[in-house]
């Protein structure tokens, strides 16, 4: 008899996962660093940082990769690992749809400069007229295919042979969780027996750093870069921008079991709720974040008491950590003090659109290893945040049900409940 969840839907299993971050390539390298409490944050060497308020990041530095293709390349690495682990399909033939969380696409300064300088100026022409003219003459299809928003997921679909039209999505810094959520929904609808959910982001450019700095979102810590990401600390001063990708193979539980796949975890609940308060801040009463949390428990037909670890959004911005604590408090009540909560971002940095996918992978690995990665750089506790943040050192502890939070600009709030067992 087919296994159904408490809401009589197909159960969604995770059978493969892969990850690339500033900590390394592959789950093993990443996990080793996470439980050792090692940071991937370092001074930026990719470009000069003069005039920038922040000079460090969690970059992924791969040799011989065109920077335009970095997010595609690391997305492929993560998917390749996940698909191999799951043993699903055959190479280049994945039996399900692709959901890709990616950042917005831009032409970039090297391309803009090249175009501008490619042709001599004409009268009554501004810089964009001139670049448009040069671009028309150059007819460089490859450059402009890169500026299609669908480019990365089309290339991933080409390579991995996913079914149907790929979906490229963004819910800002909640995107990775949204990719998983879309896969869960598709399997529950019975449309597909498998889905490939990936987030990939390589946004460390000077312009991106300026943008986040202007919104006062980035840490401008003056000490060692590896100590800059300080989630839940009193002296936290912003997030650290980082790069990374993660992929999860989702499958109908019964189908996965029938083919003898190893079930790594089960996605028990997934939900999102939009805030209507402000473009970059949560409603002061926390209602949207609380709404997302409650909707996730409702979707899973579970109670907060069943959670034994929280993988925090935990960016290290003053605002996020305060609101995440406040909202969790409203939903969990006094029991919250007894639930360990840690922020992978203290080591990986904030990989923006891919962070929800990375943290889903790390949440699952936490259950497998029976070790909770720490929140590092926790030296100055914030008296207003009374959480067990697993400070500085990993903790051996059995974990069977994880809540993973992801919040983003534009009022995006998405949560996942991931468990070791289907019920």
């Amino acid at each position: 008899m087919a296994l159904r969840d408490k809401r009589n839907r197909p159960v969604v299993a995770v059978t493969g996962m892969g990850v690339v971050s500033s900590l390394g390539t592959g789950l093993e390298e990443n996990w080793e660093a996470l439980v050792a409490g090692r940071s991937g944050i370092k001074e930026i060497t990719r470009f000069p940082t003069t005039h920038l308020r922040t000079t460090f990041a969690g970059t992924v530095d791969l040799p011989n990769v065109d920077l335009r293709d970095l997010k595609l390349t690391i997305g492929e690495l993560a998917i390749d690992e996940a698909v191999r682990m799951s043993g699903i399909g055959s190479p280049g033939d994945f039996p399900g749809p692709l959901f890709t969380a990616i950042p917005p696409v831009e032409l970039g300064w090297p391309a803009r400069r090249r175009l501008y300088e490619a042709v001599a100026p004409e009268a009554d022409e501004d810089a964009y007229d001139r670049m448009c003219r040069a671009a028309g003459l150059a007819n460089d299809r490859e450059e402009f295919e890169h500026s299609m928003y669908g480019y990365v997921s089309e290339k991933l679909a080409d390579r991995f042979g996913t079914r149907g039209a790929p979906i490229s999505l963004t819910t800002a810094c909640a995107s990775g969780a949204t990719a998983v959520q879309l896969g869960v929904e598709a399997i529950r609808r019975g449309e597909t027996e498998a889905a490939l959910c990936v987030g990939t982001d390589c946004s460390v450019t000077a312009e991106e750093i300026v943008r986040f700095s202007l919104l006062s979102a980035l840490s401008s810590f003056k000490g060692p870069p590896e100590e800059a990401a300080k989630p839940f600390s009193k002296n936290r001063d912003g997030f650290v921008i980082a790069e990374g990708s993660a992929a999860l193979v989702l499958e109908d539980y019964d189908v996965a079991r029938a083919r003898g796949a190893r079930i790594l975890a089960v996605i028990r609940g997934a939900a999102d709720k939009n805030d209507d308060f402000h473009r970059t801040r949560s409603k002061p009463d926390g209602s949207a974040v609380i709404g997302a949390l409650r909707a996730t428990f409702d979707d899973a037909a579970m109670h907060p008491d069943e959670i034994n670890y929280i993988n925090a959004h935990g960016t290290g911005t003053p605002e996020n950590d305060k609101m995440e604590h406040f909202s969790l408090d409203k939903v969990f009540g006094e029991r919250l003090r007894g639930v360990p909560i840690s922020s992978n971002k203290s080591m990986v940095g904030h990989t923006l659109t891919s962070s929800g996918a990375l943290e889903a992978v790390f949440s699952i690995q936490t259950m497998h290893a029976g070790v909770i990665p720490p929140t590092i750089n926790y030296k100055v506790p914030d008296p207003d945040i009374t959480l067990d943040v697993v400070p500085n050192t990993a903790r051996e502890q059995e974990v069977s049900v994880v809540l993973s939070n992801s919040f983003g600009f534009g009022g995006q709030n998405a949560c996942l409940i991931i468990a070791a067992e289907p019920a």
Partner: protein, 402 residues
């Protein structure tokens, strides 16, 4: 569980006007429908410019308007029209359970800042440091928020209080197909009762025209029908369009006494690597399903054929085959009247199809080549078809509710 999907609200803004009456008048009632095209402001690129909109009517707070760039204002404004039209604007309880799927790009540039940098960078001792300095000093904090695609949905939430789930899809025309497709699939499967799905684009942006030009897609001659362009090298004329739909489970619509325009049938998205004939092969499989679902009713089609060569040649051959075999009455390429509208493509075509069905009429040809012919009978089922200019093929069925 499978539930019917009704279209209960439509918001439309474009070069033809604001709202459904303006579009019906320009495209169906006018003796000789004529597009509105500005051939001078962005010469050599013609564009279908957005009609002037009084944004304060849908975005009352000046602070909100200032926090957006134009494409977001158009999206937020047009979403408001759809909510008004569905009779749910201001219904906070319902809006808190209304879900969004928005198709969007982003990346709006500050052209003046870019110009300053490009003018100065060649003479700078360190070009990269010069760029850092200028960006640090000159960028506006709010511009970043206008560059994020999901901030259309974010602004709709803030201004109109739509606060259910919210997802934004990217990827040009295909994103607009997927937005409608996923909303409909979720409604059918009881993963949500009511959705706001749509997209918006402003063509009057040089940063957007730059991509068109660089891809070799820009039409730079006097505007002609999309069906006439491939023989002359092919090309796209972009149009500014906002299009949002309120999609709703039939039971949900009936319970609140909402009046539907039409029923949304199957929506199919697909892809190919775009080797010759592959897009047509994907579309043929999709059409077979749509044709079957439409039963023995005559079928007309709205398509987003954009005038590219060879893509539009392949599409025209495919469509001619359907017409010759009697499987399709006739087609209208909506870009002839609206321009190519990228992320607004599919919602605008679904909206126009629903409008035609509710008014028991169809659109007049706006094509000097004669490929588009008058309908033989007024359709009660309309197919909508979109081949992405780069990738992705999508098709859907919109049916009259009797």
């Amino acid at each position: 569980m499978t539930r019917e999907v009704w279209i209960t609200g439509i918001g439309m803004t474009s070069s033809l006007g604001e709202g459904l009456d303006a579009h019906w008048q320009a495209m169906a009632e006018a003796e000789n429908p004529r597009p509105v095209i500005d051939t001078t402001s962005f010469a050599p690129y013609p564009v279908h410019p957005m009609v002037p909109l009084d944004f304060s009517l849908q975005i009352p707070k000046g602070g909100d308007r200032r926090q957006m760039e134009n494409w977001q204002r158009v999206g937020t404004y047009t979403a408001g029209l759809a909510l008004d039209d569905a009779g749910i604007a201001g219904n906070l309880e319902l809006l808190s359970n209304t879900n969004m799927v928005v198709a969007a790009a982003g990346g709006e540039r500050d052209l003046a800042v870019d110009q300053t940098i490009l003018e100065g960078v060649a003479a700078a001792e360190s070009p990269e440091e010069f760029i850092n300095e200028r960006l640090s000093n000159d960028l506006r904090p709010t511009l970043f928020l206008a560059q994020l695609p999901n901030l259309v949905a974010g602004n709709i939430a803030i201004v109109h209080k739509v606060t259910g789930s919210s997802r934004t899809f990217m990827g040009e025309e295909l994103a607009s197909v997927s937005a409608v497709e996923i909303a409909a699939r979720r409604i059918r499967a009881d993963q949500g009762d009511i959705f706001l799905a749509g997209g918006a684009i402003i063509a009057e942006r040089k940063d957007v025209l730059l991509v068109m030009s660089g891809a070799g897609w820009a039409w730079t001659e006097e505007p002609v029908s999309v069906w006439a362009r491939p023989a002359r090298g092919g090309g796209i004329i972009l149009g500014s369009v906002g299009a949002f739909l309120v999609l709703e489970a039939r039971e949900h619509a009936e319970a609140r006494g909402a009046r539907p325009y039409a029923r949304l049938g199957t929506v199919l998205s697909g892809r190919s690597r775009r080797e010759p004939g592959q897009a047509a092969a994907t579309a043929a499989r999709q059409f077979a399903e749509i044709r079957k679902e439409a039963g023995d009713r005559p079928l007309a089609m709205l398509t987003s054929a954009s005038g590219l060569s060879p893509l539009t040649i392949e599409e025209q051959d495919f469509l001619s085959g359907l017409i010759d075999r009697g499987e399709l009455d006739t087609v209208r390429a909506t870009p002839n009247m609206l321009g190519t509208s990228v992320e607004a493509t599919f919602p605008s075509m679904v909206g126009l199809a629903a409008l035609a069905l509710s008014r028991k009429g169809f659109y007049r040809p706006a094509d000097e080549t004669g490929f588009e012919t008058a309908v033989k009978t007024t359709p009660t089922a309309i197919a909508v078809n979109s081949w992405g200019n780069w990738r992705g093929e999508g098709m859907g069925l919109v049916e009259a509710i009797d």
